[in-house]
Amino acid sequence: MMLTLLILVPLVAGIVSFLAKENAKAVALIGSLATLGLAAYISTTCGAQPMDWSMQWIPRLGAQLSLHADGMSAMLCLLTGIVMPVVFISNWNKEVENPGSFYGLMLLSQAGITGVFLAHDALLFYFFWELALIPVYFLCSRWGGEKRIQVTFKFFVYTFLGSLMMLAALIYLSLQTPGVNAYSWENIVRAGASLDPVTQQWLFVLIFVAFAIKMPIFPFHTWQPDTYEQSPTAVTVVLSALMVKMGLFGVINWLMPVVPQGVAFWSNTVIILSIIGIVYASLIAIVQTDLKRLVAYSSIAHMGLMSAAAFAQTNVGMHGLMVQMFNHGINITGMWLIVSMIEQRWGTRDMTKLGGMATSAPQMAIALVIISFANIALPLTNGFIGEFMLFNGLFSSASAYRITFMVVAGLGVILGAVYTLNMVQKTAYGNTVEMKMQKDLTANEFAGLAIIIAIILFLGVYPKPLLDMTAGVANMIMP
C-alpha cells in the first residue's frame, strides 16, 4: 500500500495542481514533500526487506499492477523524492506562466518516474516509462527556449523510437511465457534467460537501445545537450537527475537478468562505447561556452563511467553504481540550480560574458565551487566514493582489457578537472560582470542549495547509510 501511495500522491497532487492554478506551487511543494516522507520511510525498510504489492490489471494480456521495492528502487524513489521539492523550493520566487499546468505536469512526470522504479510488470513498466516521458515533452515544448519545438520533436522521436523497440522486445518475451501473468518480472526473466543465445543477442539490441538513448550512451546522445539547453531548468533537472537513471535502472532491472547471454555477448562493446563516451564528451565539454551544454556533456561523461561499470559485471562496481546514481542525481541538480540562478541574474549562460561571481555573489560562488568539486569527485564529497568504487569495479572485471578500460576511463578524471575548473574560473573569478539584478542568494535559493550541499558533504564523509541501503540488492544482482 505504501508503494501505491508513492505513485498516487504525486499523481493526485498533479491533478490538483492543474485545478489550483495560481496556488499550484504550494500544492506541488506539499505533494512533493509528502512523497519525500513516504520515500524516506520506504527506504529505511526496503534495504533489508523488499516490499511488494500487486493486483489484477489486464488479465487477458497477462498484465498486473505489480510493484516491487528493493534497495535500488527505494534509493531511486528517495532521490526523486528529494530532487522534486528541492527544485520547487529553489524556484519558489520564479514566475512561471500558467503555473497550474507547469506544476501539474512536473508532478505527473514524477509519478511516472516513480512508477518506472517500482514496476514489477513489464507492461506496467512500459506504461510508466511513457507516462514519465509525455509530460516532459509538453513541459519542454511549452516552457522551453527559442528552438524548443525542433528540439523537443527530436527528443521525442529519439526516445519514442527507443521505447517502441523495447515494447516490441517485451511483447516478444511475454509471448514466450505460457499461462497467466506473462508480463510479470519473474516470467519475463525466466522466458528471456531460457532463449537461445542468438535470440538473446537480438533482444539485447532492441531493449538496450531504449535505455542507451535515455542514459545516454555515445553515440545515442545528441538529443541531450540540445534538450537540456532548451528546457526550462526545472525540467532539465528532471531529465538529467532522474530520467537518465531510468535508463540505468532499466539496464540493471530489465536487461541484465532478462538476456544474460546477450549481455555476455555485447558487454565489451558497450563498455568500449561508454568509455569512448567518457573521453569524447569530456573533450567536447572543454570547448563549450554555454553553461548548460557544458553540464550536459559533463553528465554524458559521468553516465559513461556508470554504464561501463554496470557492464563490467562486478559486485563492487554494481554497488558503486547504486551509490553513484544517487550522487550524480544530487550533484547535477545542484549544478542546474546554479546555472539557472546565473542565467536569471546575468541574463546569459555564455561563460565568455560572465565573471566575478565571487565578488558580486559570494554565497553563490561558494556553492558553485563546492558542487563543482563534487562533480569532479573530490574526496570527502559524495562523488568520490561512487567513482572510486566504479573504477574499482571496472578494474576488477573479467575482461582482458580491464586495465586499458580503467586507464582510458580515468582520463575523464583529468579532463573533468579541466572543464570544471574552466567553468569555475570563467564564472566565479576574474573581473566582475554587472548583474541585471544585484542580489546574492535569496532565502529559498539558499535553502535549496544548502540541502544539496549538506547531502554532498554528509555522504562524502559518511557514505554508510547509502551503502547499506543498496548492499543487499547489489549482492543479489552481482554476487
Binding site: 570547448v287 565578488t359 570527502l380 580503467m406 575548473l421
Partner: protein, 628 residues
C-alpha cells in the same frame, strides 16, 4: 595521548568551519587568532604524541569508523600513529603554526584575511589526514584535499586571470599524477584485497601473495606518478613555479615545507613495496636527479625572488627523490625536515622583503636591503648557508648524507648531484647578494618605504633560523658519531635499504670536496654580483631564463593539440557527424514520405489497379513456393 590523535586534525577543521562559515562577520584579527590557535592546539597534541611514540616506539592504528564497506572491500577511516607520521605531524603543525602567526601580520591589509585563514586551516587539516591515514585511500583523501587548498590559495586573488590560470594548472597537473596514484591503489587492491598499510606491507613481507617482479614495479611506478604530480618532479613540475601566484606564506607552507613533500612521505611509507621494485627505485633516482639538475639550472637565471626559491624547491625535492631512489629513505625524510626549516625561512624572508618593497618581487630592483632590515637579512643569510650546505647548518647534514648514499650507489650520479648542489650554492648566494648587499636599485619611493617587518613576522623568522642551524644535529654523519638520532627514531617504521656505508676516509674526502667547492661557488656568486648589470640574456642564459622553454613545449605538444582536438570533435564529429546522421535520417523520412505521398492520387481506378497487381504478385509468389 595516542588515542587522542583525532584531535590533531580536528582543531584545524573546527578552525576552518568557524572562519569559513563566519568569514564575513568575523573581524580580521579574530580570524587570525582563531586560525593560529587551532594549529597551536594541534601542535601541542602532536608534541605529546611525538614524545609518547619516541619513548615507546609503538605503532598504533586508531580506528574511527568504517568509511567504505562493500562486499569484500573494507576501507576504515583510521589513523596510523607511528614514528614516521608523528614526525610529520610535528613538522606540519610546528611550521604551520609559525606561518599562521606570520600571516596574521602579512595578510592584515587584505580584505579576504578571514577566508585566507579558513583555507589555511583546511589545508593543515588535509595535510594531517594525508600523513595520518592508515591506508592509501585516507592518504588519497588528504592528497586531493591539499590539492584543493593549494588551488584555492594559489588563486586567492581571484580577480587576476594569470593567478587563476596558475591555480587551474596546479590542480590539473596534480590530477594527472592522481590518476597514477588511483591506478596504483587499484592494483594493490586487486592483488592484495586491502589498502591498509599494515595488511599490505604484512603480506608483502610474508610473501604469501607472490606477484611478478614487473607487477611490483608497475605498482610502485603508478604511485610514483602520483608523487611526481604532488612533489613537482619531471615531467609534472611546471605548476610549482606558477604556484608562486599565491600569497607568500602559502608558498612557504604549502609549496615548500609541507604539501610538496607528500610524495616523499608516500614513498618512504611504501618502502616495503619499493624494496621489491628495483626498476621503479631506479626510475625514482633518475627522475629525482634530473629534476634536481634541471630546476637548479633554471634558478640560476631567474629574477623573481619567489621564482628562484620555487625552482630551488623543485631542485631540493629532486634531491629527496634521489635519496629515496638509492634506498636512503630515512635520509630523504631527514632532508624533508631540514628543508622544511630553511625553505620556510627563505620564503618567509622573501615575503618580508616583498612587503618592505611594496609588492616588488624583481631582484634587479632590490639591493642593499641589509641596512634596512637586519633581522630579515641575517635570517635569510642563515637560510642560504643552510641550503648551500655549509658545515654546521642543518642543510649540510642532510645533504651530505644524501650525497654520501648516492656516492655509495653510483659515483657518476654523485658527481651529477654534486653539480646540482653547487648550482644551488651559486643561485642562492646570487639571490642573497643581489637582494641584501650592494646599493639599492629600486625607485626613490620604494627606498623611502623600506622598513623591517613587525614582530609577528620576524619572530617566526628567528625561530626558523634557529631550527635551520640546530635541526641537523639529529643526524650526525657516521664519521662524527655512530649514533644517528633520527635513524634510531624512525627505525621502527622505516630504515634504509641497500645503502652501503662508506669508508671513513672516503666520507671525509667527499665532505671536504663538497664543502670546498660550495665555498668557491659562494665566492663566484659574490664576484658575479659585485657590480650587477642586467643586460639582456643571450645564448644558454636566455634558455635558462626562459626555463628551457618547457612551458612552451607543453603548450605546443599537449595543450594546444588537445584544444584543437576538442574543437574538431565538437565541430565535425558531433555536429556534422553524429547529429548530421540523426538529422539526415529525419530528412530522409520526410523526403521519402514526400515521394510516397504521390501515390495517394484520389482516383479510385488507380487504387483498384494497384490492388489487382498486388494480389497477382502475392498469388504468383505463393505459386512459386514461397511460404508467408
Amino acid at each position: 595521548m595516542t588515542n587522542l590523535v583525532w584531535l590533531v586534525p580536528l582543531f584545524p577543521l573546527v578552525g576552518f568551519l568557524i572562519n569559513g562559515i563566519g568569514w564575513r562577520k568575523i573581524p580580521k584579527t579574530a580570524g587570525g587568532v582563531i586560525g593560529s590557535l587551532a594549529i597551536l592546539a594541534s601542535f601541542a597534541v602532536s608534541l605529546g604524541i611525538f614524545f609518547e611514540v619516541k619513548s615507546s616506539g609503538a605503532s598504533t592504528t586508531v580506528h574511527l569508523f568504517n568509511f567504505i564497506e562493500s562486499g569484500k572491500l573494507l576501507i576504515p577511516f583510521a589513523f596510523q600513529v607511528d614514528a614516521l607520521s608523528s614526525l610529520f605531524l610535528l613538522i606540519i603543525t610546528g611550521i604551520g603554526f609559525l606561518i599562521h602567526v606570520y600571516s596574521t601580520s602579512y595578510m592584515h591589509e587584505d580584505e579576504g584575511m578571514v577566508k585566507y585563514f579558513a583555507y589555511l586551516n583546511l589545508f593543515v587539516f588535509s595535510m594531517l589526514l594525508l600523513v595520518l591515514g592508515s591506508n592509501y585511500l585516507i592518504m588519497f583523501i588528504g592528497w586531493e584535499g591539499v590539492g584543493l587548498c593549494s588551488y584555492l590559495l594559489i588563486g586567492f586573488w581571484f580577480k587576476n586571470r594569470d593567478y587563476t590560470n596558475a591555480a587551474k594548472k596546479a590542480f590539473v597537473m596534480n590530477r594527472i599524477g592522481d590518476l597514477g596514484f588511483l591506478v596504483g591503489m587499484l592494483l594493490i587492491l586487486f592483488n592484495y584485497g586491502t589498502l591498509s598499510y599494515n595488511e599490505f606491507f604484512g603480506q608483502l613481507n610474508d610473501g604469501q601473495v607472490q606477484l611478478s617482479a614487473n607487477m611490483y614495479n608497475w605498482i610502485a611506478i603508478c604511485l610514483f606518478i602520483g608523487a611526481m604530480g604532488k612533489s613537482a618532479q619531471i615531467p609534472l613540475y611546471t605548476w610549482l613555479p606558477d604556484a608562486m601566484a599565491g600569497p607568500t606564506p602559502v608558498s612557504a607552507l604549502i609549496h615548500a615545507a609541507t604539501m610538496v613533500t607528500a610524495g616523499i612521505y608516500m614513498i618512504a611509507r611504501s618502502h616495503a613495496l619499493y624494496n621489491l621494485a628495483p626498476a621503479a627505485l631506479n626510475l625514482v633516482a633518475i627522475i629525482g636527479l634530473a629534476t634536481a639538475i634541471l630546476a637548479a639550472s633554471i634558478a640560476i637565471r631567474q629574477y623573481d625572488i619567489k621564482k628562484v626559491l620555487a625552482y630551488s624547491t623543485v631542485s631540493q625535492l629532486g634531491f629527496m627523490f634521489l635519496a629515496l631512489g638509492v634506498g636512503a629513505y630515512t635520509t630523504a625524510v631527514f632532508h624533508v625536515m631540514t628543508h622544511a626549516f630553511f625553505k620556510a625561512l627563505l620564503f618567509l624572508g622573501s615575503g618580508s622583503v616583498i612587503h618592505a618593497m611594496g609588492g616588488e618581487q624583481d631582484i634587479r630592483k632590490m639591493g642593499g636591503l641589509n641596512k634596512h632590515m637586519k633581522i630579515t637579512g641575517a635570517t635569510f643569510l642563515i637560510g642560504c648557508l643552510a641550503i648551500a650546505g655549509i658545515p654546521g647548518f642543518a642543510g649540510f647534514f642532510s645533504k651530505d648524507e644524501i650525497l654520501a648514499s648516492v656516492y655509495a650507489h653510483s659515483p657518476v650520479m654523485y658527481y651529477l648531484a654534486l653539480g646540482a648542489a653547487l648550482m644551488t650554492a651559486f643561485y642562492m648566494f646570487r639571490l642573497y647578494f643581489l637582494t641584501f648587499t650592494g646599493s639599492f636599485r629600486g625607485t626613490e619611493e620604494q627606498h623611502h618605504h623600506l622598513h623591517e617587518s613587525p614582530a609577528a613576522i620576524t619572530i617566526p623568522l628567528i625561530v626558523l633560523a634557529i631550527m635551520s642551524v640546530i635541526g641537523g644535529y639529529v643526524g650526525l654523519p657516521a664519521v662524527i658519531s655512530e649514533h644517528h638520532t633520527l635513524n634510531t627514531y624512525l627505525g621502527s617504521v622505516v630504515s634504509n635499504f641497500n645503502v652501503h656505508h662508506l669508508e671513513h676516509n672516503t666520507e671525509w674526502m667527499l665532505m671536504g670536496l663538497s664543502t670546498g667547492l660550495v665555498i668557491v661557488m659562494i665566492i663566484v656568486a659574490r664576484v658575479a654580483t659585485k657590480t650587477p648589470n642586467f643586460v639582456e640574456n643571450t645564448g644558454i642564459a636566455k634558455v635558462l631564463e626562459n626555463k628551457w622553454y618547457v612551458d612552451e613545449l607543453y603548450d605546443a605538444v599537449i595543450v594546444r593539440p588537445l584544444a584543437a582536438l576538442s574543437d574538431a570533435l565538437d565541430r565535425f564529429v558531433e555536429k556534422l557527424g553524429i547529429d548530421g546522421i540523426v538529422n539526415g535520417i529525419g530528412r530522409l523520412v520526410r523526403w521519402s514520405s514526400d515521394r510516397v505521398r504521390l501515390l495517394q492520387t484520389g482516383q479510385v481506378g488507380f487504387y483498384i489497379f494497384v490492388m489487382v497487381i498486388g494480389m497477382a504478385v502475392l498469388f504468383a509468389l505463393r505459386f512459386f513456393g514461397l511460404n508467408y
